[in-house]
Each structure stands twice: as C-alpha cells, then as structure tokens.
C-alpha cells in the first residue's frame, strides 16, 4: 500500500497521471489469469515480459477504429451526425478520440488524417484550413498526453496531406506521431520529399513501406503507437515480449539455448498471451459493452496478439561471447541471429492463437522497441548504438534482412546532419533504395532538434530537462523517454553525415 500512497502524494505526476497509475495499481490487486509455474519462472527471470499490461485485461492494448465508417455514419452512442463540413468533422473526431481506449487509456490511432480531411476542404483557403488544423492538432497534443498516439498520411499526394505537413513543421508537437505510407507507384516524389523535409524539423513523419505492409491483413492496415502494423477496425489484444538477452543469460551454451530455453520461453509466452486474450474476450465484457463494437467501428475478429521480441543484438552477442563475434558486424553473428528469428517464426507459424481469425489463428511477430527500465537491451532487431556500420548502405542492408520476418511492426531510426535539409531528393533516394531491398519502416530526425525519437515515440529534450529537475510535465511519455534516453545512450546514435 506504500506504493499507492506514494502515487497519491507524488509531486512529479499530474492529476491525470495519478488517476491512471492508481487504476493500474487497483487492477494489479487482482489475480485472474492462470499462469503455469514454468511461465512464472520465466517471468521471474525476466526472460519474458508482459510490459506491465496489468493483471486483468479489460480493453485491447491497441484499437484502430474504422474512422471512415464513423465519418460516413456518425455515432448513435455519442449522438453525432455524419459531419457535413470541416468544422463538424474535426469536432466529431475530437469527441470520438476521447472514447477510444487502449493500454495507455489514450487513443493510439487517429486515422489516415489526410484522406479523412481532404474531402472536406473545398471552399476553404489554405490559410483557413491551416488555422483549423492548428487548433485541432494542438488540442490533440495537449489532451492526449501520451506520445504512443499515431496518425497516418498517404500514400496519395493530397492537399490535406501537404497542409498537415506544413502545420506540423510549425507546431513542433510531440503528439501525435505521424507516419507517411510511401509507395513509389502512388506517392509523388514531391510530397515524399516534403514529408522527409518536415521530418528534419520536427522528427515527423516517419516513412512506412506501403507496398510491403499493405497486404498484411485482408483489411486495410494502420500504423498505431510505436510502429505497429494493425488491421483497421480492430487492433491488438495484447503484446508480450521475449527478452532475448535475458534468455541467453539462462543458457549454458548455444545448444542449450536452442534446445531448451528458446522453446520453453516461446511456449510460455504463447500460452500466456492466449490466457490474456481468453480473459479479455470471454470474461472482461469489453466486446459486449463497448459502443465501438456495437456501432461496427471495431470487430472482435480483427484483433491479433503481438508476439514481441527485443534485444536480438545482445542475445546474439552473449551467445557468441567466446568467439567474440558481434551482431551487425560479423556475418557469423548475423547468421546466428537469423537462425534465432527463424526459430521464433517457425513457432509462431504453428502455435494456435486464440480468437485471431484476421491473422489466420496465429500470433504476429513484433520488433518491440524497448521499455524505460531496459538497460543494455537494444530495440527489436536494431544494431546497438555505438556499433552501427560506418557505411549507411551496410546498415540498411542489415535492416532489410532482419525486418523480413517481422510482420507487425519493425523500424529503424537515423539522426541526420542538418545539411540533409538542402537535399531531400537524396534522402528520398535512400528511402527508395531501402524499401526496394525490404526495409519496412524508417524514421529520421535532425540531430540537434528539440524533438527526439526515443524508441518509436517522440519526446522533447526541453521537457526531459524539466522532468529531470523534478518538475511536473504534461506528457507521461516524457517520464519513459528520460530514463530510456539515458539508459540506452540515445544521444550517441550514429548521426548520418552524408
């Protein structure tokens, strides 16, 4: 109970942050999930991790409402008629966002904003639209106080898309995260370059390989939270992760890792995720009571379980310690990492996932990007900071190889020198080349900008400084970002001086 009292008395949390933390604490007093002893053992060893999702799941982790349907039909529950003009549209969305739950209690997906907004622009000047967009986007930034919130753009070149990019550059907001779905056959070079140019001022948008991701599901997809590729009208029930370096530490040698530790952890995590999904679907009442379900904005059969992995690099390095081979640098190490990924993939492709028809009854692999409490664990399949290959080409080839088996979200981050602003066509060349080779997702930011990408989400350096001094800050992701930035030496990411 001391912890709870500490929450109540905290002077570093806003009121809202306290309420959410207290709700979490209350949930964790329950014990409703059946967890076998072996699974418990691997949790205690920190070999598998449930990312503090809470002991009694009562809403899916990530929800991607079908906003197009909402715009077309409005909502009975919220007493909103289908919007007829831009003001009504933006207002309707602001209201709906307030009611989209997630693991953070804030919406993690705001829709493909440019395509949603573009049909409502007729008759307005650019200046009029920009003013409305600024109010809308600032409302989002100041009320959705969590950077795991994501909006999408593209792949088409639209007037709305261009105006949103222009406004984003001015506002310098951390929320929402933006991703541009890029497809060279659909997206014009001009708007792609504008997107990249904008990212060198405000670290938004990131670039998603539309061609490679578009067929992930039988429905359309969206990018939510930290690079999660998920079905529209559904989302993710849950995300747990294999903490690969901690698994490697339990192994006596490489054979023991492959013969015992890895299969046992896979089995433990698969079973655990199914247990979470079972409770959520069968007992929590979410799918019976949510108006999002009743009004067809989400469907139970469009949710998946995200099978996360983190720290492939350190895992490989631990297993190859005697040989002194390093992930990202030595082919032998890369080959071993590839074998680990294939083993995980083989398991996921055969293990039956509950209530997941949209992914054919299987979990989907996700390159989890890390937690604030991780130390010395590199995100997903990334190369550790400080060990990035000298030549960007080698780095991107490595990314392409390891993005391949990850179906529901995987990306790399590159800080760029400021000169890149003068030649965005060169950056687009890099994106085209990388996507052509199989890289699924890329993001850039300018090395000295205030907005910095932590693992996938954005935080302002200036806000982190405030938090370090003990001041209250608006966004709870600043708390997470501050420890992550320091624990994982993010300031030392290799800046591409190209």
């Amino acid at each position: 109970m001391t912890d709870i009292l500490e929450l109540v008395k905290s002077q570093k949390l806003t009121y809202e942050q306290k309420v959410l933390s207290l709700a979490h604490a209350a949930e964790d007093t329950l014990d409703v999930l059946h967890i076998p002893e072996k699974t418990q053992y691997y949790f205690e060893q920190k070999a598998i991790d449930n990312l503090f999702e809470g002991n009694a799941p009562y809403r899916p982790r990530y929800i991607l409402p079908d906003y197009d349907k909402f715009i077309k039909e409005g909502s009975n529950f919220l007493q909103i008629d289908p919007p007829k003009d831009l003001d009504e549209l933006l207002y309707a969305l602001m209201i709906l966002y307030r009611h989209v739950p997630s693991i953070t209690s804030f919406p993690v997906y705001l829709g493909n904003l440019d395509k949603m907004i573009d049909p409502f622009l007729e008759g307005y000047s650019d200046e009029e639209v920009k003013k409305k967009l600024k109010l809308f986007l600032n409302y989002i930034d100041r009320t959705i106080t969590d950077s795991f919130c994501h909006a999408n753009l593209g792949p088409e070149d639209t007037r709305a898309g261009r105006l949103i990019l222009g406004v984003e550059k001015e506002l310098q907001n951390a929320v929402p995260n933006f991703t541009f779905k890029y497809d060279p056959d659909i997206t014009s070079d001009e708007i792609a370059e504008l997107a990249l140019y904008t990212s060198l001022f405000c670290a938004n948008p990131a670039m998603c390989n539309h061609k490679l991701n578009m067929d992930t599901y039988s429905t359309d997809y969206g990018i939510a939270s930290c690079y999660n590729i998920l079905p529209i009208g559904g989302g993710a029930y849950t995300l747990s992760r294999l903490v690969l370096p901690n698994m490697a530490k339990l192994a006596k040698n490489i054979d023991h890792f492959f013969d015992t530790i890895l299969p046992e952890c896979l089995q433990a995590m698969g079973g655990y995720m199914n247990e979470r999904i079972r409770f959520l679907v069968e007992e929590s009442g979410f799918f019976e009571s949510s108006f999002l379900v009743k009004e067809g904005l989400i469907h139970k059969d469009r949710f998946i379980g995200m099978f996360g992995i983190v720290g492939l690099a350190e895992c490989t390095n631990i297993l190859m310690e005697d040989e002194g081979k390093r992930y990202g640098q030595d082919e032998e190490a890369n080959d071993l990492a590839d074998k680990i990924m294939h083993t995980i993939n083989d398991y996921v492709n055969t293990f039956p996932a509950k209530y997941s028809p949209i992914s054919h009854g299987r979990f989907m692999i996700h390159a989890q990007v890390g937690m604030d409490y991780d130390k010395g664990i590199t995100a997903g399949v990334r190369i550790p900071i400080g060990e990035e290959p000298k030549n960007l080409s080698d780095h991107l080839r490595h990314s392409a190889r390891f993005h391949k088996l990850i179906t529901t979200g995987c990306g790399d981050i590159f800080p760029m020198e400021i000169t890149a602003r003068n030649n965005t066509s060169a950056m687009l060349d890099i994106v085209k080349g990388a996507f052509n080779l199989g890289v699924k997702y890329l993001s850039f930011y300018e090395e000295n900008g205030d907005l910095v990408r932590i693992t996938g989400y954005l935080v302002k350096r200036s806000e982190m400084e405030k938090y370090k001094k003990g001041e209250v800050v608006l966004q709870n992701t600043t708390h997470l970002g501050t420890s992550n930035y320091e624990n994982n030496n993010l300031k030392d990411r290799k800046v591409r001086r190209i």
Binding site: N391, S425, M427
Partner: protein, 239 residues
Amino acid sequence: MIKAPVRRIIPHSLVDGPGNRTAIFLQGCNLRCAYCHNPETQKIYTDNSSTEIEWMTAKEVFEEVEKNIPFIRGITLSGGECTLYPEFLTELFTLVQKAGLSCVIDTNGSIDLSKYPELMEVCTGVMLDVKAWDEKKFKRLTGGSNEVVKKNLKYLADVNKLEEIRIVCIEDEVDTEDILKGIKTAIGDKIKTTKLRLIKFRNHGVIGRLKDANSPSDEYMNGLKEMALKIGFEKIIIS
C-alpha cells in the same frame, strides 16, 4: 586498367550533385586556389610515396560504388581535379553507366574536355567552377589561366552536358557580376535552364592566402541572386 590516385570515397553524399551520390575524390590539382578548402588534395603524386592515397583501377572503384546500390542515384567525381585522369574517368563511367547510374564530374574546368569525346559520351553532366572572369583576377586567385574554362563553358553548353555552374563568392576577390554577364555571353539562353550555384565562401579548412578572409553576408549573397535573376538565370541556389 589504368590506376588513379584516390584520396577518399564518400559512400553517401548529399552535397555533390543531384540526389544521393557516392562521391570519389581524386588526388592532385593543377590549380592552387587561395580559398581551396581541401588543400590536402592538391599535391600531384606519380608514385606510391603517400599512404594517404590509394591507387585504384576503375574496376576497384566501381566495386566500392556497387556497395551503395540501390541507395544512390549516381556518382560524382571530384578532387583535386579529377579531369587530370580522363582515361580513368572514361573506364569508370562506362562501368557505372552499365549499372544504370549517372556520372557527374565536378571540375575547375582547366582541362579542355572537348578533347575527350569518349569521356563526354559516358558522362551525364559536368559541374563547372567559374572562379573569376577577368584573367588577372583568375590568375591571382588560382595561379592559372581561365582561357580553357571559358572554352569548356561554351563546349559543355553546346553538347548539353552543363549540369551546374558554380561560383564561390567573396567580395572584392571574385568578380561575380562579370562572371554572370560573361556566362550569358558565352552560353546565351541556356542560362535559363542551367543550374547556378552561388557558394558562400567559408574559411573552413582553408590554408591559402584567404584563410582569414570573412564570409560574405547574407545580404551580399541575396544581392548576387537578384543580379543573376536580372541577367536571366532562373535556377539559382545559394549554398
């Protein structure tokens, strides 16, 4: 295959021509510019006495370039003065063009390019420095003559290989107005379609006479841009 002295290769360069390019810097220059910002590339070697350079064949350089496909649009040869090695360039460009990449030369314009039609055949475009228009100013700035530069200017425009004209601007030292007018006389209407880069002098790396010279102000640079617009240039970049 002939070998050329390679000073360095930058796998991805954003500042050496259109798009993302691999930039290859060859050692040795026939001018001695007072504002040269990479003077270490000036000395001409004919032997292996320097450990700073590597004598490489076109094939060996191409193998380095290949590592950066598909991330690059082409290559740019710079220096030093890369046109001191026209046969090497021809061999390298032939290989690179076959791989579907463009080949750009960054040159001081002091070697008569019309004498190398085979090279021009495989070269996509030339970024040409016009360092001064007045003979004496050119001599004082570079130690050489600009007669061939002017000849190249016209020749490259005639054969449609003039990718970009570059002027490093320093007040009093460089006769930018005369250069702009001179270019117009030399290539006429093509000034409308040719990129003009007005480069603000910076003393970073300079060890020559102008090592302590000041950079021109933004006002001065903008004034030059206005002047270029009036003369008829349309694609002007200040960098």
